[in-house]
Symmetry: C4
Amino acid sequence: MVSSPRAPLAPTRHLTSDCQIAMIDNMLSITSALLDELVAANRILFNQGILDAFGHVSLRDPDDPEAFHLARNLAPARVTAGDIVAYRVATGEALDAAAPQGYLERAIHAGVYRARADVGAVVHSHAAALVAFSVGRHRLRPVCHMSGFLGANGPPLFDSRDHPGADADMLVRDGATAEQLSRCLGDGSVVLMRGHGATVVAPTLRRAVFRAVYARVNASLLAQALPLGDVTYLDDREARASAVHESQVDRPWELWRQQAEAMAASS
Amino acid sequence: MVSSPRAPLAPTRHLTSDCQIAMIDNMLSITSALLDELVAANRILFNQGILDAFGHVSLRDPDDPEAFHLARNLAPARVTAGDIVAYRVATGEALDAAAPQGYLERAIHAGVYRARADVGAVVHSHAAALVAFSVGRHRLRPVCHMSGFLGANGPPLFDSRDHPGADADMLVRDGATAEQLSRCLGDGSVVLMRGHGATVVAPTLRRAVFRAVYARVNASLLAQALPLGDVTYLDDREARASAVHESQVDRPWELWRQQAEAMAASS
Amino acid sequence: MVSSPRAPLAPTRHLTSDCQIAMIDNMLSITSALLDELVAANRILFNQGILDAFGHVSLRDPDDPEAFHLARNLAPARVTAGDIVAYRVATGEALDAAAPQGYLERAIHAGVYRARADVGAVVHSHAAALVAFSVGRHRLRPVCHMSGFLGANGPPLFDSRDHPGADADMLVRDGATAEQLSRCLGDGSVVLMRGHGATVVAPTLRRAVFRAVYARVNASLLAQALPLGDVTYLDDREARASAVHESQVDRPWELWRQQAEAMAASS
Amino acid sequence: MVSSPRAPLAPTRHLTSDCQIAMIDNMLSITSALLDELVAANRILFNQGILDAFGHVSLRDPDDPEAFHLARNLAPARVTAGDIVAYRVATGEALDAAAPQGYLERAIHAGVYRARADVGAVVHSHAAALVAFSVGRHRLRPVCHMSGFLGANGPPLFDSRDHPGADADMLVRDGATAEQLSRCLGDGSVVLMRGHGATVVAPTLRRAVFRAVYARVNASLLAQALPLGDVTYLDDREARASAVHESQVDRPWELWRQQAEAMAASS
C-alpha cells in the first residue's frame, strides 16, 4: 500500500508562467465549504484537547492529489480560512512562493501523502496520553469498540534515535525522515512518535479527526484499565469490525463543531 | 423479576387506520413537561461527562408501558423536544413509520423495558471510568455511600464475545442480543459492557440519571483508592441502606439542570 | 479540648412568646455582610470542586455561640442569602419552627460546635480525593507546605461501621453519632469519614474554606506522589509552622470569590 | 555562572532626595508594553494552571539589571499594570518605600537575579505535578521533545530541611536562604523545592512562561508514562537540541494570551 514517492515538481518563481497559473488554479480548487471544514477541524482538535499550541491537521486537495492544504505557522485554535496555505505533496513546499511561514514539520504531511494514495487527511498531535505510550513500554492496543482503527496489535512506534539522519531535536522536517516515518506507519492509521506524539491518517478529514480523538480516548482508557489487571483487548475480528463506527462520524463531528464554535464565540 | 418479552405489535403503515390513530395518541400521551425532563436528562448527562457524542437516555411512557421515548440519532447535547421519537417496547421500532433515523442501539432500551416491568428509564453510556472497569479484572464494587445501587458485589459484566450471535462490532442492535444483555443485568441497576460502556436502569428518569452519574463517580473513586491499598467496600447492609440517598435526587437534578441550561445558553 | 455538649434550649412554637422574639433577634444578629460571606463560601466550595450537589458549610454566629448559620436543603451552588437558616448548636434544629427543610446531616455541624468552642466554621464535603483516602489504607499525611493543618500524622478516620448506633446509610443525622464523630475529630482540623467524605473545621469561615480546599489539594498531591516512591512528608515542626500560611487566606479568598461570582454571572 | 551577590543599595526614605528621584526614574523605565507582557504572563500562568492564588512571575528590568518587576501581594489572575512594583535585585525590597505589601517570597526572585546575570525572568509556582516530583523519589527527567530545558538528568531538588537557617514554614523569605536556593539551581533552568513547588528561570519572560508550562507538562507526562514501564528519556544530545523549540515560543504565547484575555473578559 505504500506507494513510491512522486517526483518533485520543478520549482516556479515567476507569477506569469503558465505553470504558476495552474498552481494558482489549484489553490482556488478547494471550495470555501472545504476550507471551512479544515478550519473547523483545527478548532475541534484544539477544543477536544488533541492539539494545543502545537500540532496540525491537513487535507489532501480533492481535485489535485498532488497538493494538500495546511495552516501557516499558527496555533490551531487561531486558524481562519485566510491562514490556509496550499502545499505540494512532492516537496512539502508552498505552491505560492510568497506564502507565509509554514509549520516546521509540514514534511510529515507531505511524506504521508506521497506514501499513501489512500490518505485524504493527516493529523499530527502531541496529545499527552499518546506521548506517554510513546515513551513507556506498554503497547497501545485497542480496548474500546470505537478504536479498532488502532489495529489489534496497536500502532507502531517511530523513534527518531533509530534514524541517524533525523535531527536530535526530534522534529521531522525533511523528506527523508518523513519517508522513514511513513514506512513505519505502513498501511496503518496511527504511528506513535517517541517523546513527541502521534501522526494519524484517514481517507477523509472527518475520519482523521475522529481517529485522532479516539486514539487519545483509547490511550486514556488503557492507562486507567492497566492498574485493574488482566486487560481484555479487542481481538482482530473486533478491531476490523470497528470500522462500522466511523459511519457515525457525522454525529460527533456536528457536536464537536458546535462546541468549537461556541468556544470561539466566547473568546 | 425478569418478565417474558411481550409479543410484538403488528406493523402498521397506513396513517388512516384505527391502529395508527391509537399510536399517534400514544405519541401525544407524553406531556410537554415530561418531554422537557427527557431533554434535560440528555443535556445533564452530557454536561456531567456521562454521555459524549454517543450514548443515550430513554423514558418509558408513563401511560403506555409498551412504548418508550428516545431521541433520534443525534448527539445528546443537541437534543431538543422535537428530536424525541416514540418507540415500541416490543420491537424497538418507531411508532411513526416516518420517524427520523434512530440510534443503532435502541434495541438496548427496548430489551430492558421488555425484561423489567419495574424499569422506567434507561441510560446507555460510554463513560471512560466505567469502560476501564469493563476491560480490567478488578470488580466495580461500591466504595461510597451514594452508590449502593451497584450492589455490594458490583454490577455484572456483559461480554459480547461470549454471545455467538452478537456482532463483532460489539453493538447491541437486535432483540436477541438485547435479551442476553437484559439477562446479564438481571434485577440489578447496572450492567457493564466489555470494551463498550454500561447500561444503567431505574424506576424513574431522575434516578436513572443519578445512578449513571454516581456509577461513574464510584468507578473513579475506586480507581483512586486502589493504589492506597486494602480498600473498604460498602457491605451488603450499607449497599441496601444506600437507597435512601436517592430520596434526595431532586437536589442534584435541579443543580445539574441549571448547569446544563447555563451551558446551552452560552453555546 | 472537647467540651461537654450544652443543654438543649426548650423548644418554642409560639411566635409571640418572649423567647421566640429573642430567637428572631438572634436570627437577625448576623449581619448582611456575614451572610454574604457564607453565601460566597457556598459558591466558592462548589466552584473549587469541594462540594457538588451535596455537602455544606456553616458559620457559628459571632454574637451568639449557641447558634450557627447553614443553608436549607439546597445544592451549595444555588444558595442565596434568603436560603440561610439559623440553627441551635444545642439541638441542630432551626430557631424558627417554620424554617424550610434542612440538610439531613446538619447534626454534624451542631455536634462539632458543641464539642469545640474554638470552632467558628465547619465544612462537610464529599471531595473525591478525600473519599479515596477514607476507603484506602494509606494515611493522608501532609506533603505540601500549605497543608500542615492536617497534622504531621494526618487526620483520623471515622468509620460509621464501628459505631453500632450509626445508621447503615452512613449519614450522621443524630446528636449521638455526631458526638462520636466529634470525639474522633478531637482537637484536629479534619476528620475523614469512611466511604463518605470529610469534615473540616477552623476558627473562621475563610480558614475553613482554605483548609477544605487544601485538604483536597494535599490528597491529590499525595496520590500523585505515591507512585514516585519514598514520599517525604512534612515533619511535626513543619506541620506546626504551616499555620503561618493561613495568614495569607485573604489572597485565595478574594480570587476564589471573584471566580465564583464570574461563574454565577454566566449561569 | 553563579555570580557573587551584589552589595545592597543604601535604603532611602526621603522622596525629595536625588537618590529617590533616580529610583522613581527607574520605576518608569519599564515601558507600558513590557508591563502589559508581565500582566499577561500573570494571567497566562493562572489560566494554564501553573499558578493559582499563590506563586508569582517577575521580569528583570531591561534597562537596569539591578531592578526587577513583580506584582504586589495579589493572586496572579487579578494582577493589572497598576499592581506591578519595582524591586531592587540587591535586597528584594521595593524601590519605592511607599509601595504596597509584597509577596512573602520575593527574595526568591532577587536571589536568582543576583546569582544569574543571564536570567531575565523568574516564575515561582506550586504546580501540583511538580510538587509531586518534589516529594517523591523518582527523578523528573525529560520525556518530551519540548522539555529538554530540564536537562537530561532533570532539575535539582532544594529541601529547606537541609538548610538550618531556613524557616520551618518552608518559605524562602530571606537573602541567605534565597542564595542557597540559587546555588542549588546552579546554571540550570528549574529547581524543584520539596513540598513547595518549583522555580523556573529563562533569559526572557516568554521563555520563562514556556518553561514553567512545559516543566509541568513533562511532569504530568512522566507520571503517566511510569506505570507503562521502561520509560525512554531524552538523552543528553536531545535535551540540548530541544532548545530549538523555544524559537517557537511566540506561537503558544499568542494563543495563551488570547485565552487568558477571553477568560478575563468573561469574568
